[in-house]
Amino acid sequence: MGVLDYIWLGVLAVFQGPEAFTVFGISVSITVMMVLSGFLFGILVGATPGLAGPFAMAISLPILISIFGYSPDALLPVMGFLIGIMKGATIGGAVPAILFNTPGTPDAFMTTLDGYPMAQWGQAKKALRIAHFSSASGDTFSDIVLFVCAPFLAILVEAYLDLPEKTGLLILSLSFIAAVIGGSPGKGLISIGLGLLAVYVGTGEDFYPRLTMGADKLSRGFPITTAVLGVLIIGAVFKGLEETWQESRKGKRSIVVPETGDQKLRWPDIKRLLPHISRSALIGTGIGALPGVGSTLAATLGYSTARARYAKSKDADAAAFGEGAPEGIAATEAANSAVSGANLIPVLSLGIPGNAAAVFLILATETIGGFNPGPSVFRFSPDVINPELVVAFGLFTCMTIANLFNWTIGGVFMRSMGFMIRIPKQLLLPSVLLLTLTAIYVQETRIEAIWFALGFGVLGYFMRVLAISPLPFVIAFILGKSLEETARQAYSATGNDPFFLFNNPIALAFILMSVAVIFFTGRKAKKAAP
């Protein structure tokens, strides 16, 4: 089995999977339909202020699992749907940002800076077209980089990293995530520590389930869905409700500005925007490939770099950045969309999730089984088919299909989503809370799961209030067991060497890098203090 054979098998797994229906005698597979449904649902959710892709992924997962079951055949339809949501939500977030100055997702905040002024001049449709074109370009570029880099990186990791090095790499990843997410390495480390502590409750190798204080209900540990959905979704719902409660209910009405001028995106426009899109796509992809560095930073960097370039070359009568420059929308949207594909590089090649969407993809694979993201996925075994590799190429095919939908129908669907802003948050968020708790119960079928999720939700709320990012918590919860298992195996494999992390040059380098990244970001934070 060569590389091309595996790619072909992956493509066939998507197109020749179970049939949804036939059109003129041509069979349309369920996976393709799931990608389409997820993509449209993602745009809808992204266009709704207060919701984001992870909400939709969290709510969909138990329903998808009920439909498709736990067999490996379920992987591609379920993951296809989630990938569709991930991509759809990215472009959907630009709709309320441009039309109503309200970013649908946090990444779309920078889009408001130029998108809303353009809408105020009667150029809303053009601004939406620019956002869609730039977003689809950045996303496609980033996916291509993912397809090329993930297998390559995985092969390198599998060839050169043994158990002690893998333990060191996990520690480095956690330290890096702690240092870069949320801008406070101290709070990042606390978040990581709490996530690790939570995953170690009730687990371990001894007969007595550790850290349970004798409570029987804790002896099976916290189910992953309760921790992930609790901290990420329920915590966000509580915070969103509190912000809505705090906001004065002035009933701010948006003024509909009539359209003026050409609303189409013409070739000269594209030619003018392309340098900004390309630069931002590169920035977004580079940032997305690092675990934990989110699309908000990519959007900010893409925007500020483009602003510096634009200031030197702009015509005297052209709008400046922040006053309705199309280049500002293009730079932001290309950068934040380029993160989504690249963020899957550490997921697929190392098994390390880098953002909330990746967390839900890992959650799906853990729930369904049969696919363990990590370097072993890309084992090109020539004699026996590696089913995980077929699934990996199937996922790449799903991403390509989602991109095709994005280029063809994404723009039209996105531009019709302006009405979602009218749904009041105070009505939507309590329903999302009930939906999330129901989804958790349906999956776990025990009332403790709801109590655990509620507890994690309260923790997530207070973490947000205190500006402690909940994402490191969730990533640590996911990686905690694998960190402990790898360390145990490394300890045994090195003949019970307690210094296995320090006697191996690569592992030692990873540990030193972990210390350095925390120390230097900590010092940087100190310098920033007045």
Binding site: I63, S66, S184, P185, G186, K187, G188, L189, I190, I192, G193, L194, L196, L197, Y200, G204, E205, D206, Y208, R210, L211, T212, L241, E242, T244, W245, Q246, Q426, L427, P430, S431, L433, L434, L435, L437, T438, Y441, R446, I447, I450, L454, V458, Y461, F462, V465, L466, I468, A476, G480, E484, A487, Y491, S492, N496, P498, G522, A525, K526, A529, P530
Partner: protein, 188 residues
């Protein structure tokens, strides 16, 4: 002018104390094996190591907040309004979950007052109508209650939203799937 928040310092100190409690009290008392244990003459990693590492992350994080970030700009602080609001949300949610859990069995008990052959909720949890009592009442109370907190008053719009949300969820989870159990029917 308001005094700058010192929340980083307090969070840092709290985390240091919490980590110390973990390392010196909770973990040693609540795990069977130590950091390293001897099994059949060979040393192996014990169950206490991983939680101790978790505690070390918290300790170092707290230390960084105290040493490097205690004077950081724009520190967000926990205000009384946050705790009050969360308290209200939590109370409504807990009350709704209790209603969800016990409304079905309670209705069965009330029905028994008027019946000669007693019924048991556990045996009715797959029967349409009965199985929806707890979820519907608890769900409506949760959604309408939270809307009332956020809107600072009860509204018919909130109640209608809650009813529609519950009906939508029953349609989403219960009608198409025979094997899915709405809360609390897996526990009764």
């Amino acid at each position: 002018m308001l005094a700058p928040s010192r929340s980083n310092l307090y969070i840092g100190l709290l985390c240091i104390v919490f980590a110390a409690l973990l390392i010196f009290i909770w973990i040693p008392l609540d795990t069977d094996s130590g950091i390293v244990e001897k099994v059949r003459g060979r040393f192996a990693i014990g169950d206490a190591l991983a939680p101790t590492i978790a505690a070390c992350f918290i300790l170092v994080g707290g230390g960084l907040l105290v040493a490097f970030e205690r004077n950081g700009p724009n520190q967000s602080s926990l205000r009384r309004s946050h705790v009050l609001f969360m308290g209200k949300l939590f109370a409504v949610t807990v009350l709704s979950l209790l209603v969800m859990r016990f409304a079905g069995p309670l209705c069965a008990e009330i029905a028994n007052l008027f019946r000669t052959d007693p019924i048991e909720y556990r045996l009715l949890r797959a029967t349409a109508g009965w199985k929806h009592i707890g979820f519907s009442l608890g769900g409506i109370l949760m959604v309408a209650g939270i809307i009332a907190i956020v809107e600072r008053g009860f509204s018919l719009r909130g109640l209608l939203t809650a009813v529609l949300a519950v009906l939508a969820m029953i349609a989403m989870f219960d009608l198409p799937f025979e094997d899915l159990l709405l809360p609390p029917n897996g526990d009764v």
